[in-house]
């Protein structure tokens, strides 16, 4: 064995100095000198020692711990004989590491500066590929990021600045413009609206169901709602995640992070549906119960020659199960979302077409003359000239003050009538209260009634003279009141149907000849300032002329000018009904706002009230107008609401078009009939769109959906049924 390599003795082992920057260049050769380089890396060694003079001799001065006195000793000239070969000192290992560290740091800083400063920095600094749709802008950061136009210093300033900054969402909206008027607000809604919705949701949620983690989340994160700047698009839509990344994906929990009522999943904690899809009553009243259980079994009342819908043909005998399909009447629309009725002609006309055109029913009234007030006036000595003796009939004996809507409008062009109208309204109110004798008139009211009678006669005269322009001017009176496009269309329809329709003039003239044979003379006298010379009740109108099965006709004995419909969706009747719905609003807003007045529709005759409004329900709108739902539910493809449901995918998934899987009949036939009967009267006051009137189907419960819509089966993500962005 050899001796140990190292000595610990202070003579053999000097301090190691690993913290020095330089070491002797001979170290690697194992021959480092004891002097070593100085701190600037210069070799200091020349000779092993500097000999000293002792008397006249030089002596070696090498210290003990560096070898002690050498054998050779100093040279005679006093120099050391042990020459040290000068070295090129080298860096120590530690200093080399320091140098390497510095180099790497400088390289890193340099490459960062190049990446952020260079023109080709975009592609390097981009954190990932854009989706397919946004790909064209991959090389143009400033298309989406306003910061791309800033400098690095500005970015740093942005990080330091704690104030919230306006975000880049405006850049998104440059292309994505169809997101409503307030696209950045939560759901695109105003915050007030949002608050109320939130409260609704909170009230509806089941108490105590809030998952624990959400409670934590509420504590841990701030509400993202920023009422000033709105929500940034980038909060949900995270780009740079690759070409195929779904930008619209959003997790349930993300939705719930804002919602104050939180729950586990659709099946566990989601509020129960509130009468879905019957949050409002159906626009068309259709008694499915009675139809299924009674009518479709017999088809007793089918119009002769009408075609029974294919699917219904064999309903009764049940031999062909497929014939029981709901799709006979309901077919998916183009988007597949809704299942609208296929239309009257297809679905209803076979049975109900004839009903509408039934001759037995009187037509819709336009003008009507009254007997009672005329008699009162005559008895009081007022002069109203000629006035026919009318048969007691529909409307003939009703109060004089109730005026048909269109007639009221036409009369309103008469300044005399306008003067009287205030008193007439007062009279009407008094009579409605019913506390006094309706026949007691004061002088003022009598005068008003007289004026009204003459106004009617003047109107008939004017219309009869066929001065189309003046007649149309009467309608123009409406123009300033009609505001919407729908109103203008209504006006056109009326104008076209009344004054350009020859049957109307014929009927009017017939009526005038029968009721007021001397009308021309009377009007002439009146205009000439002469008192009327004819007395009332000496004209006995002839029986009604039935010269046509449809269109205008004069119902002479009961003093009415009527219109018989030409079929389903008769434009004029629709217009008259629409007008009737608007009249209280147009004429007297205060009256319109007072709730249940007599329905204006009843006056129009049974066709309108029973035939039209038997199926088409009436909604009272906020401004007091009554709107008739001429069509069933219609959803504009441009609008988007919170909830979405599409029938089409469900139809293919469910076996055999089994609609009853979701739409189950709720009511028995007796109940349905009762409701229908009560509804018959409801056309008068049926102004509540939220009334319970339904199609006879039970509301769909959440349970219906949760059978399939679980996370394990077809998915229960919020976005399956709900939209984030809503707009109209």
């Amino acid at each position: 064995m050899i001796d140990p390599l190292q000595e610990f003795d202070f003579l053999e082992s000097n301090y190691e100095r690993p913290n020095q920057e330089w070491e002797c260049g001979w170290t690697a050769q194992g021959e480092s000198c004891h002097i070593g380089p100085d701190c600037s890396g210069t070799c200091q060694a020349h000779r092993e020692c500097v000999p000293y003079k002792d008397g006249d001799r030089y002596k070696c001065a090498r210290p003990k711990n560096f070898g002690g006195r050498c054998d050779l000793g100093p040279r005679p000239d006093g120099n050391c004989s042990q020459r040290v070969v000068e070295c090129q000192p080298v860096r120590t290992l530690r200093y080399r590491r320091k140098l390497f560290t510095f180099t790497v740091a400088v390289l890193a800083l340099g490459s960062c500066l190049i990446m952020f400063g260079g023109s080709w920095g975009n592609s390097l600094t981009s954190p990932g590929e854009l989706t397919q749709q946004h790909k064209p802008w991959s090389e143009k950061c400033s298309r989406c990021h306003t910061a791309a136009n800033g400098t690095f210093a500005q970015w740093v300033g942005g990080v330091m600045d704690p104030k919230p900054k306006s975000h880049d969402s405006q850049q998104c909206l440059k292309c994505h413009e169809k997101l409503g008027s307030q696209p950045l607000m939560a759901h695109g809604m105003e915050s007030e609206h949002l608050k109320s919705m939130r409260q609704e949701m909170r009230d509806a949620s089941e108490p105590g169901k809030q998952p624990f983690v959400y409670a934590l989340l509420d504590k841990a994160s701030r509400n993202p709602l920023d009422e000033k700047n709105g929500l940034a698009c980038a909060l949900c839509h995270q780009e740079h995640r690759g070409q195929k990344f779904d930008l619209t994906q959003m997790s349930n929990v993300q939705c719930q992070s804002c919602h104050s009522a939180k729950f586990h999943s659709f099946s566990d904690g989601h509020p129960e549906f509130d009468g879905f899809p019957y949050q409002r009553r159906t626009r068309l009243y259709f008694d499915h119960v009675t139809h299924f259980q009674v009518h479709f079994k017999s088809f007793e009342r089918v119009k002769p020659g009408a075609v029974i819908p294919r699917g219904l043909r064999d309903y009764g005998n049940g031999t062909n199960p497929s014939a029981q399909s709901c799709r006979s009447c309901h077919q998916p629309d183009s988007s597949g979302r809704m299942m609208p009725i296929r239309g009257f002609e297809h679905s209803c006309a076979a049975c109900h077409g004839a009903e509408i055109e039934e001759d037995a029913l009187p037509g819709v009234q336009l003008l009507t003359l009254r007997m009672q007030d005329s008699k009162l006036l005559t008895a009081a000595g007022a002069t109203i000239g000629q006035w026919p003796t009318l048969k007691a009939g529909d409307g003939a004996e009703s109060n004089e003050d109730s005026v048909l809507p269109l007639m009221e409008i036409l009369l309103s062009a008469d300044s005399d009538y306008l003067k009287a109208r205030k008193d007439l309204i007062q009279l009407r109110k008094r009579r409605q209260n019913g506390s006094e004798n309706p026949d007691d008139l004061n002088a003022q009211q009598a005068d008003a009634l007289q004026r009204k009678a003459w106004s009617i006669k003047r109107l008939i005269h004017r219309l009869g003279t066929g001065n189309k322009i003046a007649n149309e001017r009467r309608l123009n009176y409406l123009k300033p009141i009609f505001k919407s496009d729908g109103d203008a269309a209504l006006l056109q329809t009326l104008s076209a149907s009344l004054f350009r329709d020859p049957t109307f003039l014929t009927a009017l003239k017939t009526a005038q000849k029968s009721w007021f044979p001397k009308l021309d003379q009377e009007i002439e006298d009146l205009n000439g300032g002469n008192p009327p010379t004819y007395s009332p009740f000496d004209v006995q109108p002839a029986a009604t002329l039935k010269d046509s099965s449809s269109g205008w006709y004069a119902s002479l004995p009961d003093g009415a000018l009527r219109y018989r419909v030409t079929g389903h969706s008769d434009r004029l009747v629709r217009a008259i009904l629409d007008l009737a719905g608007r009249v209280p609003h147009l004429i007297d807003t205060s009256a319109a706002k007072s709730a249940a007045g007599p329905s204006p529709f009843g006056e129009l005759g049974p066709t309108a009230s029973f035939r039209c409004l038997g199926c088409h329900t009436v909604d009272k709108q906020e401004d007091g107008r009554l709107a008739i739902n001429w069509v069933g539910r219609h959803v504009s493809p441009d609008s988007q609401s919170f909830t979405k449901f599409s029938h089409a995918p469900h139809l293919t998934l469910l076996s055999k078009n089994n609609c009853s899987k979701c739409h189950s009949q709720q009511k028995d036939i007796n109940f349905a009939r009762e409701e229908f009967v009560s509804f018959r009267e409801m056309f008068r006051a049926n102004t509540n769109p939220h009334s319970t009137l339904t199609s006879g189907f039970a509301p769909i419960s959440k349970k219906t959906c949760t059978e399939c819509h679980t996370s394990q089966r077809v998915g229960d993500s919020c976005l399956k049924c709900h939209n984030y962005h809503i707009f109209k």
Binding site: A105, A108, E129, A220
Partner: protein, 274 residues
């Protein structure tokens, strides 16, 4: 004084707890509509700075900043924790984009060099004590030279004393290279005794050509071969212990620089999602 084993369990416990807290917070915050990456990013950045501060602490030995061993414990478990945070920060994806990829790469270099360094620091010291004389790394060249001088003296002695060239020839052919400097780095790193056995085997196979004096010389040379081999072993292991930091420290600085740019960029281009 807490025993090292107890401290390890304690630290692992704290680490596991913190990791669980991070993951739980991530789970909770990921429910939020806000991206979690800003919270995790800032935390990670702070942690990386704290970890890098250990390097600064090592320079400030004369200030009462807590003992280096406590710092190292925090450094080790903080480093492990940074990996959890990193995974959470990148949301279990591999980032795309050149800059972010290089940032990731830097992080991995630093993290894994640290992990490797830890393994080295724990495994090699015990191996160093098992074989060869414990020497200062700086003195290895000196000892190498001393051994070489000894061998060469023996070899030269052979020429002058025995007048034969068998040993000198063998030395020049097979041993000179071995004695010239540190050799067989990798074999020593992986604890192979193959180089020593090969050399000794070669010598023994030559022994039959030698006379008695020469065999005595060879015996001394064998001792020196063993000594040199042990020295090589020390060199290889001590060198490794020192050099792994060449990866860990420089790239830490690069990582910090990159992360500052990343941080600024992420905020400037967040588009309001922060």
């Amino acid at each position: 004084m807490r025993s090292l084993a107890a401290r390890r369990w304690y630290s692992l416990g704290v680490f596991a707890l913190l990791a669980a807290v991070i993951l739980a917070l991530y789970a909770i915050l990921s429910f939020s509509i806000h991206p979690t990456s800003f919270a995790s990013g800032w935390t990670l950045w702070g942690l990386i700075l704290a970890l890098a501060a250990y390097n600064v602490r090592k320079r400030l030995t004369f200030l009462p900043l807590g003992s280096s061993s406590k710092w190292l414990q925090v450094h080790i478990y903080g480093g492990l924790l940074s990996f959890v945070l990193f995974i959470v920060h990148v949301e279990f994806r591999v980032p795309s984009g050149a800059f972010e990829l290089s940032l990731t790469l830097l992080y991995f270099i630093v993290f894994f060099s640290g992990l490797g360094g830890l393994a080295i620091s724990r495994a090699i010291p015990a191996r160093l004590t098992t074989r060869g004389e414990e020497v200062l790394f700086e003195r290895i060249p000196k000892f190498t030279k001393r051994i070489r001088d000894d061998v060469e003296n023996i070899v030269l002695g052979c020429i002058s004393e025995t007048q034969t060239t068998a040993i000198p020839e063998f030395y020049v052919e097979h041993l000179k290279h071995f004695f010239d400097g540190p050799r067989h780095f990798w074999q020593h790193l992986f604890q192979s005794s193959r180089p020593r056995n090969d050399l000794l085997g070669e010598i023994r196979s030559h022994e039959r050509f030698l006379n008695k004096d020469e065999r005595a010389a060879v015996q001394r040379i064998i001792d020196l071969i063993c000594a040199k081999d042990d020295l090589d072993h020390q060199y290889a292991l001590q060198w490794t212990l020192k050099v792994w930091l060449f990866a860990h420290i420089p790239f830490t600085y690069a990582l910090v620089i990159f992360s500052v740019f990343h941080l600024v960029l992420a905020h400037a281009f967040a588009g309001g999602s922060e």
